[in-house]
């Protein structure tokens, strides 16, 4: 990894953060969507305490994945609509640097939403989500589906039906993340011994690494016409 790679990644991430700070377009929409999802689930599961405890990790991850769909789509659509994706492609930087830069930006936006969601859900559902392991699972899971989300959003943004294509393509591919993250979070929240849920966290990390390598190799083909 050379110095120019890191400079390009840092430039792309700080550009995305600065632009988002000014527009609040992505994080605002993602946060509002996830807040509404959590509230709707909270009302729907209000009467059944057992069902609520069972469902909480599912609610967290489904809310995060759906919210991130909004963010991934918009993040790449902004590049495409302003033509700046062409400017990025024209620059003498590796496609991997563009991928990693966009990935880190997308991941940070989703993590911000997740960090707002965890205390909110702790308060609403009366369970302890503000736990070091729950936080680690959230970070690994969010990074994992941001990896595949960034790749597929780049693919989708080049088509006319990008809003429809991304969920159709992303949700089936996200299933391994969803299953492992939900199992790990459920074990942590229920206070089960680490031996019961640690394997799910390790599996989540392994899937994330596999997807990351796969996406780094594929990204340059996705960007070609």
């Amino acid at each position: 990894m050379n110095r120019h790679f890191l400079t390009a990644v840092r430039a792309i991430v700080s550009k995305d953060l600065r632009a988002e700070w000014r527009s609040r377009e992505l994080v605002g929409a993602m946060a509002l969507f996830s807040l509404l999802s959590v509230l709707v689930f909270s009302f729907a599961l209000e009467l059944d305490k057992n069902a609520r405890e069972e469902a909480i990790s599912g609610v967290l991850w489904v809310s995060l994945i759906f919210a991130s769909l909004l963010g991934f789509n918009r993040s790449l659509a902004l590049e495409q609509d302003q033509g700046s994706l062409d400017a990025l492609l024209l620059a003498p930087v590796s496609r991997s640097a563009i991928f990693v830069g966009k990935l880190l930006g997308n991941c940070l936006f989703t993590l911000l939403v997740a960090l707002a969601l965890l205390p909110l859900m702790t308060a609403l559902y009366g369970v302890q989500l503000l736990d070091g392991w729950a936080l680690l699972t959230t970070i690994v899971g969010v990074f994992g589906f941001s990896v595949i989300g960034t790749l597929l959003a780049t693919l989708a943004v080049q088509t006319r039906s990008r809003e429809a294509l991304l969920p159709i393509a992303l949700l089936p591919i996200c299933l391994p993340f969803l299953l492992t993250a939900v199992r790990a979070t459920k074990g942590i929240v229920s206070g089960a011994p680490p031996s019961e849920w640690r394997v799910w966290l390790q599996l989540l990390a392994a899937i994330t690494i596999i997807y990351l390598v796969f996406c780094l190799l594929l990204y340059r083909f996705v960007l070609e016409e």
Binding site: A11, R18, Q82, S84, A87, L90
Partner: protein, 236 residues
């Protein structure tokens, strides 16, 4: 490096599905020359510029820039090219200064050089006073000026300009002429698509005329571009 020119195009064709946009183009442009790319709307000018900068892949044919083949050696070519496209290729939620800083980082311009080049260019395109304004508040002409600064920032060997006068007022056109004259004098090769047939820029050496996706003229740029264009189009 080829002896013929900085840009060599041989039997270049581009199809979108069944539709043929460019057919069997052959031309070259020497280092330091300025070639005007003329043609009616839809004749393939923008497609040709996208092919030359490596943003699009040819269906068949050969493109060599500075001896490197596209798209195989595109990464070597990118640093040499500055593109002013139809769209400004800027970030609306960044200021003019931040936009140029961002592209300076991507083009690996040394940090010590960045501020000087950025400030010089902002002054040259008449945006020094608006350096800290967000691009989303800029008019079309101001965005075009900033785009030109972005295209020149890394001092490219080859400038590809797609209708660069679009949106510019008369002062902007004069500024553009001045910058392009200076770039041409410093050895930069320029390919510029234009509809402005009424005046030939002083720095223009060569004309390439496209009609219906075919190159109908590739030769010296006559003083009366309109007559040359009419004659070449009629003979196509």
């Amino acid at each position: 490096m080829s002896r013929r020119g900085l840009i060599e195009v041989q039997r270049l064709s581009k199809h979108f599905g069944w539709r043929s946009v460019l057919r069997e183009l052959d031309f070259f442009v020497h280092r330091g020359e300025c070639a005007l790319l003329l043609g009616a709307n839809g004749s393939g000018k923008s497609t040709l510029l996208r092919l030359l900068c490596g943003l699009s892949r040819a269906t068949s044919g050969v493109i060599r820039i500075g001896g490197w083949s596209l798209p195989a050696e595109a990464s070597a070519v990118r640093a040499q090219i500055g593109l002013l496209a139809h769209r400004p290729l800027l970030y609306e939620n960044l200021t003019a200064r931040e936009n140029l800083d961002f592209f300076a980082a991507l083009y690996a311009i040394p940090p010590a050089e960045r501020a000087r080049r950025r400030d010089d260019l902002l002054a040259q395109v008449g945006l020094a006073a608006r350096a800290n304004s967000l691009v989303r508040g800029f008019s079309r002409g101001m965005q075009q000026r900033l785009s030109l600064a972005r295209a020149l920032l890394h001092q490219p060997d080859l400038l590809l300009l797609d209708e660069p006068y679009t949106g510019l007022d008369s002062a902007g056109c004069a500024m553009l002429d001045g910058l392009l004259t200076a770039a041409s004098r410093s050895g930069c090769t320029i390919i510029m698509s234009t509809h402005q047939l009424e005046r030939k820029p002083a720095y223009a050496d060569r004309a390439l005329i496209l009609a219906g996706g075919s190159l109908v003229y590739a030769g010296p740029a006559a003083n009366d571009l309109a007559a040359l264009y009419r004659q070449a189009s009629a003979s196509a």
